[in-house]
């Protein structure tokens, strides 16, 4: 994702995994009905919230997402019977883990949004964008880079030493 944001007008990037049968349709409906929500989300369509592997969520953070949103069918409505319950159970444990790793709980969110709830998409997205905006950038790719700076400093010092030793 190119970063068009400058320091001043920074807005968060939010990756959304939406279930094909409900939230994705709702987001579509929101679009068709010209319901306006913050333009910060990149939606990825999945066949069920139960398909959302926690590795996808960590990968999204690691690649630069400031927040990750999962949208699934309401309890009892999952097309694959239990997918959304599995998602909820994973979510509860994953959020505990990511919080321990220093990622604020508000950056990871799970919502049940049915196909007809186009307006709920707006409410949820706007609310999440405002919360994550308050938290500021997570910026893991930049963090990874800055953590590795210490190796560069050291590379110079070995090179100097090696030149010295080889004289």
């Amino acid at each position: 994702m190119p970063n068009h944001n400058t320091e001043k007008q920074w807005t968060p990037k939010i990756v959304a995994f939406f279930c094909n049968w409900c939230t994705y349709t709702a987001a579509d409906l929101a679009g068709v009905s010209r319901i306006k929500h913050a333009p910060n989300i990149r939606v990825i369509r999945v066949m069920c919230s139960g398909r959302v592997d926690p590795q996808f969520l960590l990968d999204a953070f690691a690649k630069g997402a400031d927040g990750v949103l999962i949208g699934g069918c309401h309890p009892g409505d999952c097309h694959y019977i239990e997918g959304n319950y599995k998602c909820l159970r994973r979510f509860q444990l994953l959020q505990k883990m990511t919080t321990d790793m220093g990622i604020e709980p508000d950056r990871l969110r799970l919502e049940w949004i049915s196909a007809s709830e186009g307006d709920k998409v707006r409410v949820v997205v706007n609310d999440m964008v405002s919360k994550v905006t308050k938290l500021g950038p997570l910026g893991l790719p930049d963090k990874f880079k800055s953590w590795d700076e210490e190796m560069k400093i050291f590379e110079h010092s070995i090179e100097e030493k090696e030149v010295f030793e080889h004289v």
């Binding site: 592997d53 926690p54 960590l58 990968d59 994953l94 190796m151 030793e165």
Partner: protein, 322 residues
């Protein structure tokens, strides 16, 4: 004198267990010594860094490096061995994934130093003395390696061709790797030199593992008795067998201790902790947030549980804010 292929063994941030696993080759070590020349092995033989430095680049067939990389000295040695070697093998969980030393990526360097030199219950250090990287005494300067802020896997610092997993690796894997090196029939670069199947496949309890697990609680081994006949996971113990690569012979599980995941993931998994977290949590026997959380109380330390051997090599690598 000899034309035997040269091998170097080196250790970085590790406990010494990997060195032990070399000794555990038992009589096979004679075979190794007959067939290769060990040119560096600080634990066992008296070669110096300058001996290796004097060798031409690429003259070592393989360097087996264990341990994570935490200090400047470790990086320096790793880079030197990289230059001198045709093949570098990350040996053991710490070199491959960060290992137990990698758990330090949950704390800042200052927190660690403060604890170790000032706050640990066994420490008396009224002057709060800490080691200096550079110390002058009588006109002589002594230098100590610097500590980095981040613990890294070996391949985050130098290029690595192969990985031998385990905490520590089994002597069998080491022997097979040496045989492969001698034969010259090497697998594609990046291969983990261990079977690419889950540990459950080689576990004697696997027939009692139900296809449909349901956790009513998670149990910890010091508080509950283990039924030695039954799959540990099915009893509620967090056995990482399903998310861990086989190759150890299911050592812990055969001793009725749950697998803690030291052989790392199979090639189909990128983040072992997330995968295991996913597989066990989806089988929690509750549907509401409150009931799920009640069961999750049994996992008080998810990071330490799921990333016991793999935090630096995981997707997040290190605690985000330190």
């Amino acid at each position: 004198m000899s034309e035997k292929p040269k091998i170097a063994l080196y250790w970085c941030a590790s406990c010494g267990g990997c060195e032990e696993s070399v000794v555990d080759l038992a009589e096979d070590i004679l075979f190794v010594v007959d067939n290769v020349d060990i040119v560096l092995w600080p634990v066992g033989l008296d070669f110096k860094k300058k001996d290796v430095e004097a060798m031409p680049d690429g003259s070592i067939v393989a360097s087996l490096i264990n341990g994570a990389i935490r200090t400047t000295e470790q990086e320096e040695m790793a880079r030197m061995l990289r230059r001198k070697s045709q093949v570098v093998i990350a040996y053991g969980a710490c070199a491959q994934l960060g290992g137990i030393p990698g758990l330090a990526n949950q704390f800042s360097l200052e927190t660690i130093l403060k604890f170790v030199y000032e706050e640990a219950p066994s420490v008396v250090n009224e002057l709060k003395t800490r080691p200096l990287e550079r110390f002058k005494d009588n006109g002589r300067t002594t230098e100590l390696p610097g500590l980095w802020n981040v613990v890294r896997t070996l391949d985050q610092v130098i290029d690595v061709e192969y990985y031998i997993p385990g905490c520590p690796p089994s002597p069998k894997l080491l022997k097979e790797a040496v045989l492969a090196l001698l034969s010259g029939h090497l697998p594609p670069v990046g291969t983990v030199l261990a079977p690419d199947i889950a540990l459950c496949e080689e576990c004697s309890k696997k027939d009692t593992k139900p296809t449909d697990l349901k956790f009513e609680s998670f149990k910890r081994t010091h508080l509950w008795e283990v039924d030695p006949e039954k799959c540990l996971l099915s009893q509620g113990f967090l056995c990482m067998g399903p998310a861990t690569r086989s190759g150890c012979g299911a050592l812990c599980v055969e001793g009725n201790m749950p697998c803690t995941g030291c052989y790392g993931p199979t090639s189909r998994v990128r983040d072992q902790g997330a995968k295991f977290l996913s597989s066990i949590s989806s089988s929690i026997g509750a549907d509401s947030v409150e009931d799920i959380d009640k069961i999750l109380v049994g996992i008080p330390d998810p990071v330490g549980t799921f990333y016991r051997y793999g935090l630096p090599g995981s997707m997040l690598k290190r605690k985000v804010v330190l």
